[in-house]
Structure formats: structure tokens, C-alpha cells
């Protein structure tokens, strides 16, 4: 994965997850549909998996460069930062997603 994309992939996944939850909840309530809690849980698991994938991609790039030094200094930094950003994003995704287990929908 390109290093600059990697750097913001965590927050982008968080933002997509957040938009999906808020937009989905609003739309579900508008049309009177049920099952928003399932959507929240599914989206949160999906976002978690995507974040894990992004983190693994950065980790692999860093391990590979430890052997071959194919990445430049700036790119290595981007991957290191991307790992940490993905971790913070995971906390935020989980924190937002967990609300669906305690708060009722459309009320």
C-alpha cells in the first residue's frame, strides 16, 4: 500500500464507519425500518477488520524494509505513524460502535 494512503487509512475507515452509522441510523428511522443495531455491530466489526488489515500492511512494510531497506526514511515514518493512527482509530471505532449495545434506536 502507498505510504501516504496508509497514513490516513485508519482515520478514513473511522470516518466512513461513523458516517455509515449516523447516516444509516437517520435513514432507518426516516423510513421506519428495523435492524439498525445489527447494522451498527456489523459495520463496527467490518471497520475493525479493515483497521487490522491496514495495520498489518504497515507492519509488513516495516518488517520488509528492515531487511531490504527499500523504503525511504520518510516512508518508514509514515508506516510507523500509520500503525499508531490505526490503533487510535480502532479505539474510536469501538467506542462509537459500542453505543448500539446500550442505547435504543429511533427514540
Amino acid at each position: 500500500m502507498l505510504a501516504p494512503v496508509c497514513l490516513v487509512s485508519g482515520p478514513l475507515i473511522w470516518f466512513t464507519h461513523f458516517t455509515l452509522l449516523y447516516g444509516g441510523h437517520t435513514a432507518f428511522c426516516a423510513i421506519g425500518a428495523r435492524g439498525i443495531h445489527l447494522l451498527v455491530i456489523a459495520a463496527t466489526i467490518a471497520a475493525g477488520l479493515l483497521l487490522a488489515t491496514a495495520a498489518v500492511a504497515s507492519l509488513r512494510a516495516l518488517r520488509a524494509t528492515a531487511r531490504t531497506r527499500e523504503l525511504s526514511r520518510g516512508q518508514r515514518f509514515q508506516h510507523q505513524a500509520a500503525l499508531l493512527v490505526a490503533g487510535l482509530s480502532a479505539v474510536a471505532v469501538a467506542w462509537v460502535g459500542i453505543t448500539a449495545t446500550v442505547v435504543p434506536a429511533c427514540s
Binding site: 482515520p11 470516518f15 426516516a30 505513524a81 479505539v91 474510536a92 442505547v103 429511533c106 427514540s107
Partner: protein, 849 residues
């Protein structure tokens, strides 16, 4: 070791030999000379424009502060009649608006313009006239806007201007229009500044300054500018919609016709909450520069701070509804935003702990001087503001204190603590860099203690007032209900705070009388403390660490001796080195624009156009609009110098091109940033469309039968694709020989006309189908989509005409095609946006029935 380190290993010698040939420094002085007398208005050097920008922002701070004192006098005792209710409404509206739009964001951008080129030892930022344009529009527009308070014309709707209060029915006259048009176009100035900052940070760093060696202030400025690019378009769209509703009756916010006043709150706070972080993050960046210097040790947790900045920048976009907890939004949605509001405390906390750790890790005792006092004051005040922020992020608590003085206390702790204190630390810290003189330590300490004490006396009681039930924005209250004493204390505190500001002014006024300070009085490690002149540093250093002045002990002498990069002016014009965005390897030499008048005229006419519109003088406004476009075109005519200077030597055997075009050039990157702004604006529109559909689906149901026949969108799609194809063919046509080459301007014009025709056709299709924008929120949204498309397409048409003129003037060919590349890029974006718009307008209502 970075790629650039491999180009020039410091151990193997420096990029250039010494002594340098005679006359180099004189040539630099001549080329970078600042115009004198009244011609100084045409200057574009960052160290001229930046201080003017900062000075104007500070002037607005003083004036808005004065309004605050008037409010505090009014509230000092119950049943006071010092000012009337109507004037009080104007005072709080102008105070908030001025502090947020005319002081905070401009002050940060001004610091970016001043400090970034010095931190990068760049000769200037990449678009000096754009910076100057942004400054002049801001100064003219800001002063006219602020003066409305003197003529009883100031807006009265609060700094967030909520409808329905600000609709024509409840706010007749022009006062709300001054806010909508005045602030709307000042936001354009902020975006221009943000474009400059983004490209400056990504492309004008010195060789060797890879991303991990970038000063934290540059990181925070990058995030700040990125946030402006994504946040400001939402409020620009909102101001457009409210102004259109006030002027033409398109019912975006009128419930009776399917609009919703809450839409304004969504759009406003989608900008408004990130705005807090837009202000705070650069201030935190400044603190991250001052703390290591005062602690005499590198910043602890550099990576973590970068991560915190990125995360805060993103997370802040998920908090806007926490200003709307009491508006009846479903509980689960509130929970999402409440959770996000708490999550953002983690990266903010990371930074606080990193600063504390740096202070603790210092090799010597933390140096206590005026800048460090303001930093410590910031840490204390901002932490309290952050904690009350977590409190109001809790929905049940917010329901109790919403619109009370508790919230006033909270956001003043965040904004004054998080921005004003770091700003004053910055002024005391960096004053010697700008003026070569130090502000008084004795007066500085007085300023700090008066402001620190005055601030707490003024604002801490407001927490209690809020908990006692005192609402915001009330012009008076009955005496004897228990609020008098706290209000009197608060007013006294406000005057103590103001006394601190007055002493600061005295200190500034005495600055020119002080003795010259050493070049690096704080013994800091970053490049802005290198000796500099109007041309910035004598040569552009090769950087091998985050604190080059600490780790490269001979750097000052080497740079002064011209032994690093570009010690001369090989093209004979203003120039700087453009480096790669990640590893800062030298790529090409950018020839910069010098002083001029076109950007000044463009700013004057742009401001005049908007302000005349405010008072409904449509014809003079249109004339000024046309003159502004003419001035912009005259300005743009000088922007593509062409490759005739060839490659130039900058040192270390590097011969770089003196010209670049295409998507990877600084101009290409600027176009990408501009398209991100447009895309953000359009996404805000899509959100608004879908939001109003969820609120008033019955309006969409009644609107759907008015949808034009499917042949219309299919025809428009065909026109858009033909336009795309014309621009795609125009580029290779430049390589053709003979008269075939003339196809380039012809195809560009044909392509642009197709795009304009598609937009006109889209409007006509709805009109012929019987839909009117004043009928319903649905009709208004449909036509607004076309308005947004028309903005882009008309810009493409003007640029295509400009490209054709360049071609026939012999200034456009295969190797020199910057205007064409920019036009084609914008045209492709326009096609993409219009296709998305056609799908939304024609397919969505059919799909949802």
C-alpha cells in the same frame, strides 16, 4: 539515511564551495528588495505580508475585546441599562464573529505565512501573490464588516446565525446579509491561505527535511490547513443557502415548504466544531516548538504527537452534533457523537503528556521566561477547558447546561487557554526572529500574571453562574436572584485581563527602542533562527535532523558562507527549491512572483463585489465582479514563466529544471487542493439534499412527478462526456504540427462550451418540467445543484478562453502548458461532479419513489 542524505553526505563536503563569487549576495538583495513608500502595498514577501496579516488580526482581537468589556459592564449588576437589548445583541454577535473569523483563523494563517518559510529556510511560500491577495481581501472585508457595529447595521443573530431567527421575516434589513456575504468571502480568503500553507509545507521544505524531521509546527499547520479545506466549504454552502433564501425565497430553512432550520445547524457545526481544533492544533504546534527549547531537550514522543495531530484532525469532524444535543435528534445518534467527543480527548491528552514529559526530561531546569509562563498557563487553562469539554460531551449533563454560562466558561477556557495564551507565548518567543529585538521580560511577566489571574477571575465564576441557571446571550437579569456578585467579580476579572493586554501593547510599542538581540536568543534548534535577510537565508541548508542548529554545530556559518544549496539566483529572478513531499529530495527550482498590483486590485474588487451585493447594489457589484476577474486574469498571465531558463545548478552537482508542469508540480498539487475544496462543498450539498429528504419526504414525493423526461439527463450526460473527450484530445494536439496544433485551443473552448451547455440544459429541463426553486425545499435543492455546477463550468469556460489567448500569444506549447493543464484538470473534475449530480437529482427520486 534519506535519499537526499545520499545525494550530499555532510561528511563528504558541503553542496557548494566557499568563498562564493562576489556579487551573489548583492544580487539576492536586489531581486528580493521590498518596494518602498506607497509601493510597499504591492509587496509580497512573506516577512512583509505576514506581519501585516498578524497585526490586522490583532487589531480585530482588540476591537472584539473592547466589545466584550462593554458586555461585561452591562452584566456587572442586575437590571443594568448601560446598553440596550438591541445593541447587546449586536455586541455578542460581533464579538464572537470577529474573534472566530477575523482574529483566530487569520492570526494562525499569518503565523504560518511568517514562520513556515523561515523554518524551512525557503525563500518564500510557493504562491506569494495568493498570500497577499488573501491578506488584502481579509483586511478590506474585515474592516468594512466590523464597521457595521458603528452604524447600527451589525448582525444580531449570534456568531452562529441560526435560522429561523436570521430569515428575512425575523431579521429584516441588511444586517444579516453583512454577516452572510462578508464572512462568506472572508472564508474564501482563509481557503486561499490554506492552499498556500499546504503546498508550502509539502513542497518547499529544505533538502533532507523528510516528514520525520519536519518541525511539529509544520505538521500542525498542515493538519490545520487540511481541516480548513474540508470544513470551511460546509459553512460557505450554508451561507450561500441562507443568503439565497433571504434574497430570492428559495426555502431551504423554511419548514412550511419542506425546509428545516436544523440543516443550518448541521452545516454550521460541521464547520464550527472542527474550527475549535483548527484554532487549537497550530497553537499546540507552537507549544511543541517552545517547550523543547525551554527544556533544552528534543520533544518527547514526536511520533505520538504527529499521530495525535492527525487523529484529532479527523476525529474533530465527528463531533458537530455535540452542539445539537438538545434539538431532538434520536438518542442513538447522540450517543455516536457523545462517544466521538470523548474519543477525541485521547489524542489531545497525548499531547499534554508529551509536553509534561519533555519538561521533565530536560537536561537542565526548565527555563522560566515569558514564553514558558504562557505555555504553562496554557497547559493549566486548556486542561480545565478540556475536562469541562468531556463533561458537556455527556448528553444528560449537556441537557442541563446547554445555552447556559457554563458553556460560555467552557469554550473561553478552551479558546483563550488553547489559542490566546499560546499566541502570546509565540509573540514573545519569535519576536526576535521578526524584529531582531526581544520584548521585555519584566513587562512580559506582568502581562502574563495579569492575564492569567484576570482570566480565571473573569471566567471561572461563569461555570457557577451556568450551574445556577444563568442563560447565555441575555442582555440583563433581575437584580437579587443570586447572580449579581458572581457577575460583578467576572466583570472585574475581565478588566484585569484587559489591563494585561494593555501592558502587552505598551511592550510592543517599546520594541523598536530595545537593543538588538542575538540571532538565536533562546538557543533554539530549528532553522528559523538562522541569520536571514529579505531573501531569507544566504543558502538553503541541507538538514540531517529535527533540530539542525543543535546537531549541526557549523550550520550557521556554512549557511552564511553560501555553502549549502542555492546560494545565488541562477535564473536572475525570485526562486526557491521545490522538494519531494515525503523525503524532501530536490526536484526543481520554482521561479516565484514578485511585487505587483493585479492581486491587490483583484482583492479590492472582490471585496467591493461582495459588499455592494450586501446592500443590494447589484449593477455596481456586477461591474466590480467583472473587474475582479479581469485583475485575476492579468495576474495569472504572469504566472507561467516557461522552461527557457533550462536547468540550473543549486549545489552538490545537482542541475535542476527551472520549470515544472503537470499533476506532480506545485501548481498541479494546488489544483488538486482546490478540487478537494470544491468536492467538500459538493458533498455538503449532497448531505443537505439527503437530509432534507429525510426530514420532508412528502416534498420529494410531490416533486418527483415534476422530474424531466429521462431524455434530458441522458442528453446532458452525452454533452459532459463530449466535453471530457474534447479536453482529452486537446492535450495530444499540442504535439501535432501545422494548423492541427490550433485544435488545442479550439477543443478546449468546445469542451468548455459543452460543459456549460450541459449545465444550462439541466436548469432548462427542470424549468420546462414546471419546477420552480421557490416552490419547495426540493425545488430549491434541485436548482442549487445546478448553481454549484455552473460555478465550476463558468470557471472552466473563462480558463479555456485564457488558455486560447495564451496559445495565440505564443505562450502555450507542449513544454509550457500550465494553464492548459489546470483547465483540463478542473474540467474533468466538473464532469465528475455533474455526473454525480445528475444521478442524485434524476435517479434518486425515482428510486425512492
Amino acid at each position: 539515511m534519506s535519499a537526499t542524505d545520499q545525494i550530499c553526505k555532510p561528511s563528504e563536503g558541503l553542496p557548494n564551495d566557499a568563498p562564493r563569487p562576489p556579487g551573489e549576495r548583492e544580487a539576492l538583495l536586489r531581486i528580493w528588495a521590498i518596494p518602498r513608500g506607497w509601493r510597499r502595498l504591492s509587496a509580497v514577501n512573506n516577512m512583509v505580508v505576514g506581519p501585516v496579516y498578524l497585526g490586522t488580526a490583532f487589531l480585530f482581537f482588540l476591537m472584539a475585546g473592547l466589545l466584550a468589556l462593554l458586555m461585561r459592564v452591562q452584566l456587572a449588576v442586575g437590571d443594568n441599562t448601560f446598553v440596550g437589548q438591541d445593541l447587546y445583541n449586536q455586541l455578542f454577535t460581533m464579538h464572537g464573529t470577529t474573534m472566530m473569523f477575523l482574529f483566530a483563523v487569520p492570526a494562525i494563517e499569518a503565523l504560518g505565512m511568517m514562520l513556515l518559510p523561515q523554518m524551512f529556510a525557503a525563500r518564500d511560500l510557493p504562491f506569494p501573490r495568493l498570500s497577499a491577495f488573501a491578506v488584502w481581501t481579509y483586511i478590506i472585508g474585515g474592516l468594512v464588516f466590523f464597521s457595521t457595529i458603528l452604524y447600527d447595521l451589525a448582525p444580531r443573530g449570534g456568531w452562529f446565525m441560526y435560522p429561523p431567527l436570521t430569515l428575512t421575516e425575523y431579521s429584516p434589513g441588511d444586517s444579516a446579509d453583512f454577516w452572510l456575504l462578508g464572512i462568506g468571502f472572508i472564508e474564501i480568503s482563509a481557503i486561499a491561505g490554506a492552499v498556500e500553507i499546504v503546498i508550502g509545507i509539502l513542497r518547499t521544505r529544505p533538502p533532507g527535511m523528510s516528514l520525520d524531521r519536519m518541525p511539529i509546527l509544520a505538521w500542525s499547520m498542515l493538519i490545520f490547513a487540511g481541516m480548513i479545506i474540508f470544513a470551511f466549504p460546509a459553512v460557505i454552502l450554508a451561507t450561500m443557502m441562507l443568503e439565497i433564501e433571504r434574497s430570492f425565497g428559495w426555502p431551504f430553512f423554511s419548514t412550511a415548504k419542506g425546509g428545516d432550520s436544523l440543516l443550518w445547524q448541521h452545516l454550521f457545526w460541521f464547520f464550527g466544531h472542527p474550527e475549535v481544533y483548527i484554532i487549537f492544533l497550530p497553537a499546540a504546534g507552537m507549544v511543541s516548538m517552545i517547550v523543547p527549547t525551554m527544556a533544552r531537550t528534543p520533544l518527547v514522543g514526536y511520533r505520538l504527537i504527529v499521530v495525535a495531530l492527525i487523529a484529532t484532525g479527523f476525529f474533530s469532524f465527528g463531533l458537530w452534533v455535540h452542539h445539537m444535543f438538545t434539538t431532538g435528534i434520536p438518542a442513538l445518534s447522540l450517543a455516536f457523537f457523545s462517544a466521538a467527543s470523548m474519543a477525541v480527548a485521547i489524542p489531545a491528552g497525548l499531547q499534554v503528556f508529551a509536553w509534561i514529559a519533555t519538561i521533565a526530561a530536560g537536561r537542565e531546569r526548565f527555563r522560566i521566561a515569558t514564553p514558558s509562563l504562557f505555555v504553562l498557563g496554557f497547559l493549566f487553562i486548556f486542561t480545565i477547558g478540556g475536562l469541562t469539554g468531556v463533561m458537556v460531551a455527556v448528553v444528560p449533563f449537556d441537557l442541563q447546561v446547554h445555552d447556559s454560562y457554563f458553556v460560555v466558561a467552557h469554550f473561553h477556557y478552551v479558546l483563550i487557554g488553547g489559542m490566546v495564551f499560546p499566541l502570546l507565548a509565540t509573540v514573545y518567543y519569535w519576536a526576535p526572529m521578526v524584529s531582531h529585538r526581544m520584548l521585555s521580560e519584566r513587562l512580559g511577566r506582568s502581562v502574563f500574571w495579569l492575564m492569567f489571574a484576570g482570566f480565571h477571575v473573569a471566567f471561572f465564576p461563569m461555570h457557577i453562574m451556568g450551574l445556577m441557571g444563568m442563560p447565555r446571550r441575555v442582555w440583563t437579569y433581575p437584580a437579587g436572584i443570586g447572580w449579581d456578585t458572581l457577575n460583578t467579580i467576572s466583570t472585574a476579572g475581565a478588566f484585569v485581563l484587559a489591563a494585561g493586554v494593555v501592558i502587552f501593547l505598551v511592550d510592543l510599542a517599546l520594541l523598536s527602542r530595545r537593543e538588538r538581540a542575538p540571532a538565536n536568543p533562546w538557543d533554539a534548534g530549528t532553522l528559523e533562527w538562522l541569520p536571514a535577510d529579505v531573501y531569507s537565508t544566504r543558502s538553503i541548508p541541507h538538514v540531517t535532523s529535527r533540530e539542525p542548529l543543535w546537531d549541526q554545530p557549523n550550520l550557521v556559518r556554512e549557511v552564511e558562507d553560501g555553502r549549502h544549496y542555492l546560494p545565488n539566483a541562477p535564473t536572475g529572478t525570485r526562486e526557491t527549491i521545490v522538494t519531494g513531499p515525503v523525503d524532501a529530495e530536490p526536484e526543481y527550482v520554482l521561479r516565484l512572483t514578485g511585487p505587483g498590483w493585479n492581486h491587490v486590485l483583484a482583492a479590492v474588487f472582490t471585496a467591493a463585489c461582495f459588499l455592494l451585493l450586501t446592500v443590494k447594489l447589484v449593477v455596481p457589484a456586477a461591474v466590480c465582479g467583472v473587474l475582479a476577474i479581469v485583475a485575476c486574469l492579468a495576474w495569472a498571465w504572469q504566472l507561467d514563466p516557461g522552461p527557457e531558463k533550462g536547468r540550473v545548478h543549486i549545489g552538490a552537482g545537482l542541475h535542476l529544471p527551472s520549470y515544472a508542469t503537470g499533476p506532480s508540480s506545485h501548481a498541479g498539487l494546488a489544483m488538486v487542493v482546490l478540487m478537494l475544496v470544491s468536492a467538500s462543498l459538493y458533498l455538503a450539498y449532497v448531505f443537505s439534499y439527503l437530509y432534507l429528504w429525510t426530514v420532508s419526504p412528502q416534498v420529494w414525493a410531490s416533486g418527483a412527478p415534476l422530474l424531466p423526461d429521462l431524455g434530458w439527463p441522458i442528453g446532458m450526460t452525452a454533452l459532459l462526456l463530449v466535453g471530457w473527450g474534447a479536453f482529452s484530445l486537446a492535450r495530444p494536439a499540442l504535439a501535432w504540427t501545422g494548423t492541427l496544433r490550433h485544435l488545442t485551443p479550439l477543443l478546449s473552448l468546445v469542451g468548455a462550451l459543452c460543459l456549460v451547455a450541459a449545465t444550462v440544459g439541466e436548469i432548462a429541463s427542470h424549468w420546462l418540467a414546471g419546477l420552480r426553486p421557490t416552490d419547495s425545499a426540493y425545488g430549491a435543492m434541485v436548482y442549487l445543484g445546478s448553481v454549484l455546477a455552473a460555478q465550476v463550468m463558468i470557471a472552466v469556460l473563462i480558463m479555456a478562453g485564457f488558455t486560447a489567448a495564451r496559445y495565440f500569444a505564443g505562450k502555450l506549447d507542449l513544454g509550457r502548458r500550465l494553464p492548459f493543464d489546470s483547465t483540463a484538470t478542473l474540467a474533468r473534475y466538473g464532469v465528475g461532479q455533474s455526473l454525480a449530480g445528475l444521478a442524485l437529482i434524476h435517479a434518486f427520486p425515482r428510486l425512492v419513489g
